[in-house]
Subunit: 398 residues, 2 copies
């Protein structure tokens, strides 16, 4: 039967190329990106009528973020990068100045309202590129799960990773993994490669098998854009879409998430088996949730966190913190009474929230509150957040 179906499939293929909607289909004749044996990468675009074709990508030096591509006699423009370190990279073309994704590459990520072409330099076992790749290891499942949030008066969606072998296990610890402003419950599994990182760390024994809960951190939204009944709106940092008002804040409503998970999954329901971390706004949420519920989480991670209290951002964080009695009471409950096993702060040296985080660390230091601190190169970027998740996941539940 098998060979017969192959014949039929070939027939189908021939016919599909002649189908009515052919105009909708592209014909990408070139190979791009091509990862060369030395881990340089060649990008190609067939654009015979173009006047200029340029490339930008996060592998290019900061001083020359846009490079010109060169046209050959067949109308194929190309550029070969330097040798690249193992990593997940993003790029796009500019054709006559217009931003253009690589039509020869189906792999792309959306960040807020922007799609970008991506590729991975895999590298050796254990490298970052390897950690972000789908490898021949047992895989956890990834589910889009709806739950009731009484506090937000919404039926909402979250993304839940259950580790390989979950059916047979019990008493799993749970990591609550929160996204940043402009993101949603898809951000960590897509841009953050959370499934791949967890699969690979668990398979090599570097992380404990755990459930990872990726909530939606926008309390006025039920789910990612287009995935709830608000319709297919264009997300934006700059407003433009008039979304509903939230019934409560992220930290006020967060126990709805924890309660749902602890009711419906095979988890250990105690502080030692709960971790919370997040990036940027989600780091701010982790900060706020952990002090609002000081006896709930033993592992707290702030990745490039927006650590905010008080409305007036012109007053330095530390002064606002020192002056806020309620804040100091919460912090004492967390750090003195409950003493989390790990309070981990990570940020890049060029992050625009660097000073905000330094102020916060100064406050923690002045109070003698225990935390660990990691400073990396780079700024407010997913490349750092993938590293922070990879590191944090290896430190928790141990």
């Amino acid at each position: 039967m098998r060979s017969k179906f192959i014949t039929l499939t070939l027939l189908l293929v021939g016919s599909l190329s002649a189908m009515a909607q052919q105009a909708l289909f592209s014909s990408a004749a070139v190979k791009s990106p091509e990862i060369n044996p030395d881990n340089s990468v060649t990008f190609r675009l067939y654009a015979p009528k173009a006047v200029t074709v340029e490339l930008t990508g996060d592998f290019l030096p900061e001083k020359t973020p846009v490079v010109k591509m060169t046209e050959d006699s067949a109308g194929v423009w190309s550029f070969t990068s330097d040798i690249l370190e193992p990593e997940l990279y993003s790029y796009c073309f500019f054709v006559n100045g217009m931003r253009y994704l690589d039509p020869s590459n189906i792999y792309q990520n959306r960040d807020v309202a922007t799609w970008t072409s991506i590729f991975i330099i895999k590298g050796d076992k254990g490298s970052k590129g390897d950690l972000y790749s789908v490898n021949d290891v047992p895989h956890g499942n990834l589910a889009k799960v709806w739950y009731e949030s009484p506090a937000l008066k919404l039926n909402r969606r979250m993304t839940v990773y259950t580790p390989a072998g979950y059916e047979k296990g019990k008493n799993y610890p749970v990591l609550y993994l929160l996204h940043g402003a402009g993101g949603d419950e898809n951000a960590w599994s897509e841009l953050g490669r959370a499934s791949q990182i967890l699969d690979n760390l668990i398979a090599t024994g570097k992380a404990k098998p755990m459930i990872v809960v990726m909530t939606n951190g926008n309390p006025n939204c039920a789910a990612a854009p287009g995935e709830w009944d608000f319709g297919m709106y264009q997300p934006s940092f700059r407003g433009g879409v008039r979304l509903p008002q939230a019934a409560a804040s992220m930290d006020e409503s967060f126990m709805d998430v924890v309660n749902f998970i602890e009711k419906n999954y095979k988890v250990a329901k105690n502080k030692q088996n709960r971790a919370i971390c997040g990036l940027s706004m989600g780091g701010g949420h982790s900060f706020a949730i952990s002090k609002r519920f000081p006896d709930k989480f033993d592992y707290i991670g702030l990745f490039s966190a927006a650590v905010g209290i008080g409305g007036d951002m012109k007053i330095p964080t530390i002064e606002r913190m020192k002056a806020d009695a309620e804040f100091n009471k919460q912090m004492e409950a967390l750090f003195v009474k409950n003493q989390p096993k790990l309070y981990w702060i990570a940020i890049g040296e060029t992050d625009f929230l660097y000073q905000n985080n330094k102020d916060y660390r100064d406050y923690l230091d002045s109070m003698g509150y225990k935390y660990e601190y990691v400073e990396t190169s780079g700024g407010h970027i997913w490349r750092n957040w993938r590293i922070y998740l990879s590191d944090f996941a290896q430190m928790i539940f141990k």
Copy 2:
């Protein structure tokens, strides 16, 4: 706390727009597509340096599948469509002849190696556009689930829809929903809007709450491109990627899927509670699986099916079928001994597999085997397959 976080978020937003990787971000200043009150649609693209900008979309007449857009003095090109029927539509631009997705629209679907911008005209309650939209109804969960296939010697991935309220229910019926050539386990949930269709039909009582299992119909692949350890290859109808050989065929291996589902989900394990259907190659699989296992499925759906037996496609289907003793024995076991409650064949009048299906119906007629037949307008397109799923889902398990 809430107002404080809003302030912080605004600060964040301001800073993000100045972030280092800004060159990777687009600035889509125009609204596109804009669905007008009369359900005409205006498309816009900011392209001040372009010489020509055209639009193609599956809402345009077959005779004029590509239309010119008009530039205003600000460099914004636009086109307004006729009034459109409620439906999910696909489109893209051509800028100076190069295919270009709409940068103002984050919503897009991938079909094999091609991304296309999409939008929905929602229309009235119960219309197709409404059926394909996320509405304010209880939602089922959608999970990417890994399972062992002993027949294929692979750990493989499938997509599983569990209806709203699944935690509380039991003995659910199961629909096995199969994709076409070039597709994968993501095809029905993305291009096919399966979650939305099922959510909406179940919420209005038009379909029974059911589990929907969307397998990967390529027995040589563990999962969709980029989602297994073969790496981030470019899928293609024309070859190019040398994928591994399969250890068995789709129909030979299919009981691995059924066994996994019946072991791990709360399902009724009998013929009356199993349905199988698929599009194109997946229709061929449904045909092949249902006759290989004639006592397993009470509901069988062939959507634009590639109904193939015998290697030589030059010989008409009916002649090959009449001459094949093994085939006739299987068909007798299915139609005479087991008598499925519904054997449903649907195809579009311009589908390239129309004659193949007609031959097959002639065979069924000549044998007196009972089936139902629906003929629609149009060809081998997702628009038809969404309709067929919507119709088939309302006829099963009743």
